[in-house]
């Protein structure tokens, strides 16, 4: 854990988003302003969450950082280069709300996919990750035979297998039941502490954001703007037990207040 903190402390920026504005072509011919002048930093090894109302552009922001959509205005740097450079350096891992597994591959082969694509076979790494996310017993199963929670574990292992330096997660536990969600949070914390990589994490759950993150970025509704960035002062390693600590409750209250600030027309 101390090394995680060291990495965070050295201040190197894994993600730097500056004044990013993004428009989609709207149905009625007018452009839809999805993001408006967004700034965002993720330092090396840091866990940053984004919360905000539905449709505020969280996924858009994440996909811009991932290089999955082309940026229109403003600057996006990932690991000192463009998102495309980060892709080519195999420095990115992605977990979305749906696992997106290949149904014809078994669990182990799904986890191996990034190594196949990048032609860097590493059977030991695959096995270690299967162990880490707790699905080693199902290595030979096809995704169709797994529960939703288990599929999402496979997706997480796949996103990590090539040792990315930035993990991008878009409501990764959004489709899971509450119990699986809680289990996955704890697993993610454990894995993050082992892998020591930067995480950019989109969620609708304030409690999830506070429990996991070093900082929580609160966005406002359309057009998406950053309304507040809230530091989470909870010590690491973290666990569910901390949800009843005063610091947790205070921080969660601050995040909720920032989320609500727009409702009555005020800006934080």
């Amino acid at each position: 854990m101390t090394s995680t903190l060291d990495l965070a402390a050295d201040g190197a920026l894994t993600v730097s988003v500056r004044g990013v504005t993004h428009r989609y072509p709207g149905a009625d011919g007018r452009a839809l302003l999805a993001l408006d002048g967004v700034d965002l930093d993720v330092r090396a090894g840091e866990f940053v969450s984004i919360v905000g109302p539905s449709g505020c552009g969280k996924s858009t922001l994440l996909r811009l950082v991932a290089g999955l959509i082309a940026s229109q205005a403003g600057g996006i740097e990932v690991l000192g280069g463009t998102p495309g450079d980060a892709q080519r350096a195999h420095a990115l891992g992605l977990v979305a709300q749906e696992p997106g597994l290949l149904p014809w591959r078994d669990v182990a082969a799904n986890v191996r996919l990034p190594l196949d694509v990048t032609r860097t076979p590493d059977g030991a790494r695959v096995n270690a990750l299967l162990e880490q996310v707790g699905i080693a017993d199902f290595a030979g199963y096809r995704p169709g035979a797994l529960s939703g929670g288990m599929r999402q574990r496979v997706a997480l292992a796949r996103a990590l297998v090539h040792r990315p330096r930035l993990l991008l997660m878009d409501e990764p536990f959004g489709a899971l039941d509450e119990l699986s969600r809680e289990a996955m949070r704890v697993e993610l914390l454990r894995i993050w502490e082992q892998e020591r990589i930067a995480v950019l994490f989109v969620t609708h759950s304030v409690a999830e954001a506070v429990l996991l993150s070093d900082r929580v970025v609160v966005m406002s509704g359309r057009p998406g703007r950053v309304r507040a960035v809230i530091d989470v002062p909870l010590p690491r390693p973290r666990g569910e037990a901390q949800e009843s600590s005063a610091a947790f409750i205070e921080t969660a209250a601050a995040v909720r207040a920032a989320l609500r600030a727009g409702d009555d027309g005020g800006a934080a």
Partner: protein
């Protein structure tokens, strides 16, 4: 009482449940047909009894076998040719909307044109041998494969695609690891449609050319009022269609054991 036991015996009984009804129904139809023809004393040239049809097949199996081989070669030749070209074009179309818009109208033209009308032209171009038969079978099976393959190659799971794109995976990597396997259920659906169509194409071409194969055999039998042989040819063609479709189904089951349709 013994519910679980009944459940465990499911696979075997469901296999029997799948095979028995059609066999029983088919046997019943043949039996009724036989009885009807004998009781009403129907003339052989109008409707021979099944026993006469089987006797015709039995008396000269080589005639039917060689005609069937000729037709089958033309049908499968056309099918393979058309499926290969259609899949290749579908790969291009799936990667570019512009190419898709260029490929679709001529393909649609091929689809809506009554292919049979092209026969004289095809005969001029390809002679009177296997050429025009292959061409007709190919033209008739081209469109189902093209359309299905384009849809299939596009039907990739967007999350899986994203997972590959963040690794800067090349088009080729995405094609072979994602697009191609995703397209297979659609390719097999196309084959189920086009396999029987290819037989239709070959036999129709043989009707028109009268040169060889099952089509010619039927024409000759017809001219000789040999209705039993005519029915024999129909039986053989039906058996070919059923066997080829079953073969496609079998290969599909092996290749697509991961697909949701496999469990059904």
């Amino acid at each position: 009482m013994n519910g679980p036991a009944a459940e465990f015996s499911m696979p075997r009984s469901s296999w029997a449940a799948a095979v028995l009804p059609p066999v029983v129904a088919l046997t019943a139809i043949l039996a009724l047909w036989e009885v009807y023809v004998r009781v009403r004393d129907v003339k052989d040239y109008l409707l021979p009894p099944p026993s006469a049809v089987f006797r015709a097949l039995w008396d000269d199996p080589d005639r039917f076998a060689s005609a069937a081989a000729t037709s089958l070669t033309a049908a499968l030749g056309g099918l393979v040719l058309a499926s290969g070209i259609a899949f290749g074009l579908a790969v291009l179309a799936a990667h570019s909307r512009v190419l898709e818009r260029a490929i679709y109208p001529p393909a649609l033209l091929v689809k809506v044109t009554p292919i049979v009308a092209l026969y004289p032209l095809l005969a001029i171009w390809f002679g009177f041998g296997i050429g025009p038969k292959v061409a007709i079978a190919a033209l008739i099976t081209f469109f189902p494969m093209l359309v299905n393959a384009i849809v299939g190659l596009r039907s990739v799971d967007p999350q899986a695609l994203d997972a590959m794109r963040v690794l800067a995976a090349s088009r080729w990597e995405i094609f072979r690891r994602l697009r191609f396997p995703s397209s297979l259920p659609y390719v097999f659906a196309a084959l189920r449609i086009s396999v029987p169509l290819s037989l239709v194409g070959a036999v129709v071409a043989e009707f028109l050319s009268g040169s060889s194969g099952m089509g010619q055999l039927i024409l000759i039998a017809n001219g000789a009022f040999d209705t039993a042989s005519l029915f024999g040819a129909v039986f053989v063609l039906a058996a070919l269609g059923v066997s080829l479709t079953a073969l496609v189904g079998y290969v599909e089951g092996r290749v697509l054991d991961w697909h949701v349709s496999a469990g059904a």
